[in-house]
C-alpha cells in the first residue's frame, strides 16, 4: 500500500465516521422529537408554532430561556394549567434536554400576519422598540433582545415569529404580576412602565417584523444590559 492509498483509506474512514456521527445525531433528534409529540399540538412540529396565535414558537430561542420557562411551568410560578400538568413530574436533566432540543431547531419563520393597526400606531411601536423612552424609564427592546430581536444567550428570548395577541398577553402578564421571573425581575420593571397603548403598539410592531438573515440569538455578553436581569444568571454561569 503506497502513501496515497493509505491517505485515501484514512480519508474514507474519517468520512464514514463523520457520516455515522451525523446520522447518530439525526437519530437522537428524531427520537427526541418523538418523545416530545405532546408539545406539537400547541407549539407545532420542531417548535415552529401553529396557527393559534396564543401558543408561542419555541424553535431557536436560547436554551437557557426555554429551560427557565420549563422550570417556571413545572413549579407553577408561570401559570398555564395544561403546561403545569405536563411538566409536573419531569426531572431537571430532562427539562434541560428539552430546552436544548428546541433551541437547536430552525424551521423557517412564518410570514408575519398583516397588521390590523394604523401606520401611526406601528410607528409608535417601532420608536419604543428601537429607542425606548428614557423619561418613562423604558429601555429599548433591542437593548436586551438584540439589534435583530433574536435574543441573547443564555436567558433572553428572541421576539420574532410571535403573534401580536401572544406578545400583548405576555406583556399584560408581566404588568399585572401574573408572569414573573427570577429576581431581579427586569421585565416586570419594564412592563410596569408600559401603558396599554404602548403594549398595543409594541405587540403590533414586533409581530410585523420579517425574518433577519441570521436568526441565531446573540452570544452571551455581546452587549451590556440596561438592567440587571435574574434570568441571565444560570447555574454554572455568573
Amino acid at each position: 500500500m503506497n502513501l496515497s492509498n493509505l491517505a485515501l483509506g484514512l480519508c474514507c474512514i474519517l468520512l464514514l465516521a463523520g457520516a455515522s456521527r451525523v446520522s447518530a445525531s439525526d437519530d437522537a433528534q428524531r427520537e427526541m422529537a418523538k418523545r416530545l409529540e405532546a408539545c406539537t399540538p400547541c407549539h407545532g412540529a420542531a417548535g415552529k408554532g401553529t396557527d393559534d396565535p396564543y401558543f408561542p414558537r419555541l424553535a431557536g430561542k436560547p436554551a437557557g430561556y426555554l429551560y427557565n420557562q420549563l422550570l417556571a411551568f413545572r413549579s407553577g410560578r408561570r401559570k398555564y394549567p395544561p403546561m403545569n400538568y405536563l411538566l409536573h413530574f419531569l426531572p431537571d436533566t430532562y427539562l434541560r434536554q428539552i430546552a436544548k432540543h428546541y433551541a437547536s431547531q430552525s424551521p423557517p419563520l412564518p410570514v408575519p400576519d398583516p397588521s390590523d393597526v394604523s401606520a401611526a400606531i406601528l410607528a409608535e411601536g417601532e420608536k419604543l422598540a428601537l429607542s425606548g423612552d428614557a423619561e418613562r424609564g423604558l429601555p429599548a427592546c433591542v437593548s436586551c433582545h438584540g439589534a435583530f430581536l433574536t435574543g441573547q444567550e443564555p436567558g433572553i428570548p428572541g421576539l420574532l415569529g410571535l403573534r401580536a395577541s401572544y406578545i400583548s398577553a405576555q406583556l399584560g402578564g408581566w404588568r399585572y404580576g401574573t408572569r414573573t421571573a427570577n429576581a431581579p425581575d427586569c421585565m416586570q420593571v419594564v412592563a410596569g412602565n408600559l401603558s396599554e397603548d404602548d403594549v398595543r403598539a409594541l405587540s403590533a410592531w414586533l409581530a410585523s417584523r420579517p425574518a433577519p438573515a441570521n436568526r441565531d440569538p446573540e452570544p452571551e455578553g455581546t452587549f451590556e444590559l440596561p438592567l440587571t436581569c435574574g434570568s441571565q444568571v444560570m447555574e454554572g454561569h455568573q
Binding site: 399540538p41 413549579s75 395544561p82 400538568y85 411538566l87 426531572p91
Partner: protein, 419 residues
Amino acid sequence: MRSSFKLLSASWLAGMAAFGLSSQNEARSEEQLASVIEKGEYLARAGDCVACHTSPEGKVFAGGLAMPTPFGTLYTSNITPDVETGIGSWTSDDFYRTMHEGRFPDGGLIYPAMPFASYTKVSREDSDAIFAYLRTIAPVTQHNREHDLDFPYNNRSLILGWRTLFFEQGNFKPDQSKSDEWNRGAYLVEGLGHCGMCHTPINALGGNSEADAFKGGLIPMQNWYAPSLTSNKEAGLGDWSIDDITDLLQKGISHRGAVYGPMADVVYNSLQYLNDADTRAMAVYLKSIAQDSPKPATSRLPHAESSLLLSLGKSVYDRECAVCHGANGQGEPPHYPPLAGNQSIQMDSAVNAIRMVLNGGFPPGTFGNPMPYGMPPFSITLSDDEVAAVVSYIRTSWGNSGAPISAAEANRLRSAPLQ
C-alpha cells in the same frame, strides 16, 4: 512496693481497656446512628413525605403546600427540625404518636389528610428511623399556615367522629401463612405506602359516604379515578408478571401500561427510590390480592348512537392514534402503551381514558426512564363527539370489554382541574 505497682498497673490497664472499649462503643454507635438515618431517609421516601410537606419552589419539608379538599384548603406543616416553627422540639415519642395515633404532641387531633390511618401500621423502629433522619435535615423557619376550611369542617372536634368511623389504631400483623416477602410487601403497601388513601373506597377525608358521593374511587378535587387494586377488571395485577408490576412501580412504564396523573406523582416522589427487593415485595403482595370479578360491560347508550360513535371513533383512531398505538391497539411498549387488553381503558369509569385523550401526559421521569415519551393532548383538536367516539372505540375494540361513553361525559372532563 512491687505489689502496689502491680495494682497500679493493673488498674491502669483496666482503665485503658475501658477507655478503648468506650471509644469503640462510640464509633459503633455513630456508625449505627448513620445507618439508622440512612434507613430513615429511605423510609421517608417510601412514605412519600416530601410530596405533601414541600410546596412548589419551597424548601424541602418546610410544608406550606395547599391541599384543596371538598371541605376547604388544608396547608401542610413544617416538619424540618426548626424548634420554633418545625418539629425541632419533638421527641421520638411525639413523632410516633403522630404516626400511630394521629395526634399532635399535646394530644390535638390531626386532620386525616395526613395518612395516619395507614401510618398507624408503621413499626416503632421505622418511625424512630424516619424521625432520626428528619432531625438531620436543614431546619427552616417557616410558620405553618392556618387551614382554610369551611364551616363546620373548621371544627377539629369533628375529626373525633371521623376517627370513630374510619380510624383503627394498630400495628401491622404479619400473616404467618405467607412468605416474608409477601408480608414485607403488605407492610409497605398498607403502611408507609398509604396506597389505600386513594385506592380504596374509603378515601382520605370522608370515608364511606364520601366515597359514594364521588362514585367510588374518584379522587376528590382531582377528578382522576383511582382504580381498585383487588379487581382484575380494574387495576388488579393478578394476571401481570412480577417484572411488569415492578417496572410500573419503579420506572413508571411497563409492557402493560404506564402511570399518569396522581400515580405519576407517587412514582416520581416515592416509588422510584425503593430498592429492588422492596419493589418486588410490593409486587408480590399486590399480585396476590387481585381477584377476578368478571362483570359484563353494559352500555348506557342506545345501540344506534353507539354504532355511529364507533364508526366515527375508528376514523379518529386511524388518523390520530394508530401511528403510536398501532392499527390494532397493540402499542409499542413500554413507551407507547398497548390499548388492547389494557384494563385502565375498560374500567366502568372511563374518566382516566377520557382525560388522557383530552390532556395527554408524560409518565414520570425516573431513574429507570429518565426521558419519558409524552402523549399529546387532544382537547384542542378534537370535539366532544370525536373524544367520545375515539374513547368508545378503544374501550370496545380488539377484545376490550368496556362500554361506549357519551359526548356529555367527555365534555364534563374538559373543566377538570389539571394537577
